[in-house]
């Protein structure tokens, strides 16, 4: 079932996605892509002979992060005067989620507080097993080497291990809750659900705290050890540790003062918050063991409406890793390129997408004609970008470690661009086949980057070949795909140009620099592309325009995308940055900066209440749409903000 989160949290070991009312939608362990153990996991009250699930519409809810942390505060208010505040966070070190519930009431209540879970441990409904150890007050569900444990402070008073989908329905935990009491069945196997419960007798004006710990481990003994030790630790200490951990991590980032926005203090504050949130989000999407990233936490596990997002694409991570690098976190690049060395295919290319551990993921790009050449180009391009930031011995070591990868990658690009245009393949959106300006630009940038690296490696012959080919790719792409109307065609397919306006042509400027604003003719081309994109792909929603991917886009209603909108604003800021050194450009630079800020603010309006940047914004309602949060959106937000910061530097009054 497709369920889009409103917020995510986690640590290096677990990733959790939640809905607006604090209901768990995903619990990923040990990796961010696998396994997702939760179908449902949430609290429920039994009061006045009825169950009040905390995700039902009767609750008014608000949800936000505690600033600069991954601690989520959810507040639920019920018409009967009951209020529940949930503090959700993960333990700083252990693979444990902490859920601290504070229940208060305006009227006397006499009932039960339940914590219900329908787990599919190991992503399996079948062959699960669960038991409740009444001595330890630990409820465990497991499948193979995946163990999920539930413990609480105060310990739960009753429990039920039931069959979720069986004809012996009275053992089902959901039905067992209906009378407010549980049967305390200790163990069962199959497709299961479980619930633990506490008496909830509260006088008006009083409150009660119940903290639920959800831990994950690969061994039963380790789970026991971890949970039993954890329960001794004061929850407040865990809370402070979790908070401090993230604040400390954020303190390493490059500072952004954004003096360019001094006359818009509210906007400045929102953008600075978005900077921190985007950084924290990207870290949560990263697999610290392997160096890869999920594009977004998976929410369409069955590929009901798309191909899924819980995998690693080189295209996306190339954007993500560079944004983190520029923000002051080079270690993600280092780890990612180790991963790239390991995952490169024997022909020098990279596969469409991977599981985070490097195995090839479910794909519709298994052949030369259905692969995506841009991913190889983008990877080589960012390898060179990273190389440029290194110095001394570190640079030499990186060169040595990456050379074979670059060599085989560049030769792959050579093989696929023999005539200048790349051979037909799938596009950036993984939908169309043909020849594309974006893919050409990626191949150009990949070959250029590789050529620079080859030169540093003293492989002058290879370097010259690759430079030469890069220039051929550029000139042929412009010659064959630039339309007299002033933009690149969407594609060449079956020998014909498709004049559909396509936002990804921006890739010829940023990030791949095939077109340079320093060249007067190319600057005109950049302006022309941006103008055409703004005039033909703008969608008015949330009080400003967002940019959709291309004309007649049908994917998920053809919404405007945060990615394409921030891509355009990044292009505007990059252009502004380039113009700034030229005399008489102040007004134009100011126009570009102000325009880009509007797009950035539009993207933030489309975020969730917790600031999660989605892939798209619903064109009718202005709500965040589809993949939430999307790493690529976060990366572009960081890029935009860093460019704004660069433009802030060196201005006398900080204003443009």
């Amino acid at each position: 079932m497709i369920r889009q989160p409103n917020v995510i949290l986690g640590n290096g070991k677990v990733l959790v996605t939640m809905g607006k009312k604090g209901e768990l939608l995903g619990f990923f362990y040990p990796r961010r892509d696998y396994a997702q153990h939760v179908e449902e996991s949430l609290a429920c009250l039994h009061i006045n002979n009825r169950l009040i699930w905390t995700n039902n519409p009767e609750w008014y809810s608000t949800q936000h992060y505690l600033e600069d942390t991954n601690i989520v505060i959810t507040e639920l208010v019920h018409g009967t005067g009951i209020k529940i505040t949930i503090q959700d966070f993960t333990h700083q070190k252990a693979s444990v989620m902490v859920r601290k519930y504070t229940i208060s009431t305006e009227r006397d209540i006499n009932g039960t507080f339940f914590y219900y879970s329908n787990l599919s441990v190991g992503e399996m409904h079948k062959k699960n097993s669960a038991f409740c150890d009444p001595d330890a007050r630990l409820l465990v569900q497991y499948w193979q080497d995946n163990y999920i444990g539930i413990m609480a402070d105060p310990p739960f008073q009753e429990w039920q291990v039931g069959k979720a989908m069986d004809t012996i329905w009275w053992t089902n935990a959901r039905y067992d809750m209906e009378d407010g009491r549980l049967q305390n069945n200790k163990e069962d196997i199959g497709y299961l659900n479980t619930v633990v419960g506490w008496d909830l007798d509260l006088k008006a004006g009083k409150s009660k705290e119940i903290t639920v710990f959800i831990g994950a481990s690969q061994k039963r003994t380790l789970l026991y050890k971890m949970m039993l030790e954890l329960i001794q630790e004061p929850v407040d200490n865990m809370f402070e540790d979790s908070k401090e951990d993230r604040i400390r991590w954020l303190s390493k980032k490059n500072m952004v003062k954004l003096s360019v926005l001094d006359d818009m203090p509210e906007t400045k504050q929102q953008i600075r918050e978005a900077f921190n949130r985007s950084l924290l989000t990207l870290d949560l999407l990263n697999d610290p063991l392997h160096g890869s990233f999920v594009a977004a936490p998976e929410f369409d596990h069955d590929f009901e409406m798309c191909g899924g997002y819980g995998y690693c694409w080189n295209r996306d991570v190339s954007e993500v890793a560079v944004s983190l690098l520029n923000a002051g976190y080079p270690e993600y690049c280092d780890m990612f390129f180790r991963w790239c060395r390991r995952t490169q295919l024997s022909d020098g290319s990279w596969f469409q997408r991977y599981w985070l551990d490097g195995n090839t993921a479910p794909s519709w790009g298994n052949f030369d004609h259905s692969t995506q050449i841009d991913e190889t180009g983008a990877t080589l391009h960012v390898m060179y970008t990273y190389y440029l930031t290194l110095k001394g011995l570190q640079r030499a070591e990186f060169l040595e470690s990456i050379w074979i990868t670059v060599l085989t990658g560049a030769e792959y690009l050579m093989k696929r661009t023999l005539g200048g245009l790349h051979e037909p393949c799938l596009d950036i959106w993984e939908t169309y086949d043909g020849v594309f300006a974006y893919t050409s630009a990626a191949a150009y940038a990949g070959l250029k980057g590789a050529a620079h690296i080859a030169r540093a490696y003293r492989e002058m012959g290879l370097s010259s070949r690759w430079f030469e080919r890069a220039e051929l790719v550029k000139s042929t792409t412009i010659e064959k795909m630039w339309l007299k109307e002033g933009y690149f065609a969407k594609r060449i397919a079956d020998g014909k140009l498709d004049p559909t306006v396509e936002s990804s042509m921006l890739g010829t400027f940023v990030p791949f620099n095939m077109l340079s604003p320093k060249d007067p003719q190319e600057r005109k081309m950049i302006y022309s592309m941006m103008n055409i994109i703004e005039s033909r792909l703008s969608v008015n929603v949330n009080g400003h325009h967002g940019i959709k991917r291309y004309e007649n886009d049908k994917y998920i209603e053809g919404n405007p995308w945060v990615v394409t909108t921030l891509w355009l604003s990044k292009a505007m800021l990059t252009l502004a940055h380039s113009l700034r050194s030229e005399p008489g450009t102040e007004a134009e630079v100011s126009r570009l900066v102000q325009g880009s800020v509007k797009y950035i603010m539009w993207a933030l309006k489309g975020a969730t209440s917790t600031g999660m940047l989605p892939e798209q914004v619903d064109k009718q309602k202005g709500y965040p749409a589809w993949a939430i949060p999307l790493g690529w959106s976060c990366a572009l937000m960081i890029d935009n903000i860093l460019l704004l910061e660069t433009l802030s530097e060196g201005t006398e009054d900080g204003k443009i």
Partner: protein
């Protein structure tokens, strides 16, 4: 007249075979159920000479309201407004709507249709069967899923019935029999011992089994679940209901065993050797 508000009467493809020159007309009369309006409506209709082609009463409308929907033939269109006026004057009648059937079809139901206080639809059993079969083919533990679906429906039905009429363990099974008939699900026969709370419920012409086709296993798990949910809600005990023979297996009737559910989970459940 006609499309007043959102409530209107819709065609259901039952063709009139009356006077070819007359209009087929429907009237939908809403009234308070505690003022004897039903009898007065019938008197007025007789007085005017309205011959009913089809009619039904529904006294389960919310807020003590009832609905009388009838179908007749009228020679002159002008007569319809006269009938409307006379009906509106009846004490207890709160609203009268009417309309002419297009295409000479007899209208049989209200739109939106209500049943047991909820929006209802009419569907061919084949349509339900298609859904059930797809579930059986694609879902793990389909028997459990279908039973749980029925269970929810049965509990909901029992709650509604208890809200609109005196219902207890003495008459609830008779009400269930009527519910099955009213909804076209089948004819119930019961052999139920109130002391032991156990017995058999036989379903003749089960809408599932009738349309399902041959099967090696019982197919009416949804009905088992419905009966279990209904009885649990009505009687205050937890019931297990299991279909042990089914018309789809070549038996004359479908037979569901009914008993009090055992406490908790027994090892037999896990071993799946049967429910004791």
């Amino acid at each position: 007249m006609g499309e007043k508000g959102v409530t209107m009467v819709r065609d259901l493809y039952m063709f009139s075979r009356g006077d070819e020159n007359a209009h087929v007309v429907w009237f939908s009369i809403t009234y308070h159920t505690d003022m004897g309006a039903e009898a007065n409506i019938n008197s007025v209709l007789t007085e005017i000479g309205v011959k009913l082609k089809f009619a039904y009463l529904d006294n389960t409308e919310p807020n003590g309201q009832g609905k009388y929907v009838l179908f007749t033939e009228v020679k002159e269109e002008a007569q319809i407004e006269t009938i409307n006026e006379m009906l509106r004057k009846i004490k207890g009648v709160t609203e009268v709507e009417s309309g002419i059937s297009g295409n000479r079809m007899i209208h049989t139901v209200d739109f939106p249709l209500n049943f047991l206080g909820e929006r209802a639809v009419i569907t061919r059993s084949r349509t339900i069967l298609d859904i059930l079969k797809i579930i059986r083919e694609n879902v793990i533990q389909p028997d459990g899923l279908l039973l749980l679906s029925g269970l929810k429906g049965g509990k909901g039905a029992a709650k509604y019935v208890k809200g609109i009429m005196p219902a207890d363990r003495n008459n609830c099974m008779a009400i269930l029999r009527e519910l099955f008939l009213a909804s076209g699900w089948g004819k119930l026969e019961m052999d139920f011992d109130r002391d032991t709370c156990s017995g058999k419920v036989r379903v003749r012409d089960s809408f599932i089994a009738d349309a399902y086709g041959p099967s090696d296993l019982p197919v009416c798990g949804y009905i088992s679940g419905f009966i279990a949910g209904y009885m649990t809600e009505m009687m205050g005990y937890t019931f297990q209901v299991r279909e042990v023979s089914c018309k789809s297996m070549g038996n004359a009737v479908c037979e569901h065993l009914v008993s009090i559910a055992p406490e908790g989970v027994n090892l037999e459940h896990i071993m799946k050797e049967g429910i004791k």
